[in-house]
């Protein structure tokens, strides 16, 4: 499980890699936190690039839910882009795609959030 910030002119772009499951969801939350703090009113959106995520469990989704709420409370915009097909499917099964902005491509995410 690792996160890497990538320089981008219009967004705080973070590449996420690995499995976000029961064992790693806490680490994910901790690693995400510094990026989340910058996700506030007036700042560029935080976009999580999920192309390197191979699996997400309920605990990982819950961590994302909390992150989304945190961002929203400080007026920030958060979205997830570029899913592997199975992970995108889990977002549909859990109905999280209805509460967290999900995009097929980075361009689509920028178009909507930036």
């Amino acid at each position: 499980m690792e996160l890497e910030a990538v320089v981008h002119p219009k967004a705080n772009l973070v590449m996420v890699r690995g499995r976000i499951d029961h064992g790693s969801s806490m680490t994910f939350s901790e690693l995400l936190h510094p990026h989340l703090e910058k996700c506030k009113k007036g700042n560029p959106p935080l976009i999580l690039n999920f192309s390197g995520v191979d699996y997400i469990s309920s605990a990982g989704l819950r961590a994302l839910m909390i992150a989304t709420r945190f961002a929203r409370n400080q007026g920030g915009r958060l979205g997830i882009a570029e899913f592997q097909p199975l992970v995108r499917e889990v977002f549909g099964i859990s109905r999280f795609d209805l509460v967290i902005p999900c995009f097929d491509t980075l361009e689509a995410a920028l178009g909507e959030l930036a």
Partner: protein, 322 residues
């Protein structure tokens, strides 16, 4: 060991209404219009056609609230909860045994909410002299709640007037009981006013009844205890009322779980079969079909090298042989 579901709906009984049934007939006729020529000309062909339809089109999950029958060797009958499904179960027992053959029913109550108790006044054997109902539960208020339900002004027949013999037995968590040839254990669950899950074992087979339980994802100890309680069960009836997103957001602390959590816990426990249970009254048959399909997909994705978990969705009338 055999498990029969008499009521599988959560919170409130529901039924198909006229418009839903009309829509269903229209969709079936639409399918029939495209069936290969000759298929529907014979009774056998028609039955085959109906059986080939998706469950939500040829059947219904039903709308009675929780009541599950567990039959072991020597015809011992255990019952989990007395939701509105208990009426059908009671009638089936009366039809089978009649008044001439008194029976003993061992009943296990998860908790005292209406949907798990409302069937008792309509459970026929209660009124037949000679029948014995042993009502087990873990709530100190168990007997008081049952008596209150069958008293004026809520119900016309006072509990003191029933002809069957009723006994109440309080169980404790953390120990095993031998009841009617079953090894029985109870586990406290997270739910308004608490609820209890039950684990039944006999001759190497195991059924776990675990409804009305919220599984908090940040409570490690509780998560681990639940996996232990589900350990290698042959069938788990699991509270899959909400989608995961509802469960952790708008319906957090409402005391119910989700299909995905059920799959994760059952896989971790090495269980064989998971039955989605305590269906949300908001979900129609088509939604429940989709929920089952989704759950099976999630199981396949989450399994990795563990043995497969069979996921089914309980419906009123479903019988599962363990």
């Amino acid at each position: 060991m055999q498990v029969q579901f008499w009521g599988t709906r959560g919170s409130l009984p529901v039924s198909l209404n006229a418009e839903q049934l009309r829509q269903r007939l229209l969709s079936v006729l639409e399918k029939a219009a495209h069936a290969p020529a000759g298929t529907l000309d014979t009774a056998v062909g028609r039955a085959g056609f109906v059986d080939s339809l998706p469950f939500a089109m040829r059947g219904t999950y039903g709308g009675q609230t929780p009541c599950v029958e567990l039959r072991g060797k020597d015809d011992a009958t255990l019952i989990c909860d007395l939701g509105s499904g208990a009426r059908g179960l009671g009638n089936a027992k009366l039809a089978r045994f009649g008044p001439g053959q008194p029976q003993t029913y061992h009943i296990f109550i998860s908790h005292l909410h209406w949907d798990h108790l409302m069937g008792l006044p309509f459970f026929g054997p209660l009124y037949i002299p000679g029948n014995r109902l042993v009502i087990h539960g873990c709530h100190a208020e168990l007997e008081a709640a049952v008596r209150l339900q069958m008293s004026a002004p809520g119900f016309p027949v006072d509990f003191s007037l029933v002809q069957g013999q009723v006994e109440f037995r309080l169980l404790e968590t953390g120990r095993a009981y031998d009841i009617a040839g079953f090894r029985v254990e109870a586990m406290r669950q997270t739910h308004g006013g608490d609820s209890y899950g039950y684990r039944f074992e006999q001759d190497g087979k195991c059924f776990v009844y675990a409804t009305d339980s919220e599984h908090k994802l940040d409570q490690e100890e509780q998560w681990a205890a639940c996996i232990e309680f589900f350990r290698e069960a042959d069938l788990i009836a699991f509270d899959a009322m909400y989608s995961l997103s509802e469960m952790v957001s708008v319906k957090a602390d409402w005391g119910h779980s989700s299909n995905m959590i059920g799959v994760e816990l059952a896989l971790a426990a090495g269980a064989r079969r998971l039955a989605l249970f305590h269906h949300d009254p908001l979900n129609d048959d088509a939604s429940l079909d989709r929920l089952l399909e989704d759950s099976r997909r999630f199981e396949a994705m989450s399994r990795s090298r563990r043995p497969p978990l069979e996921v089914i969705s309980a419906h009123d009338g479903l019988t599962v042989q363990l």
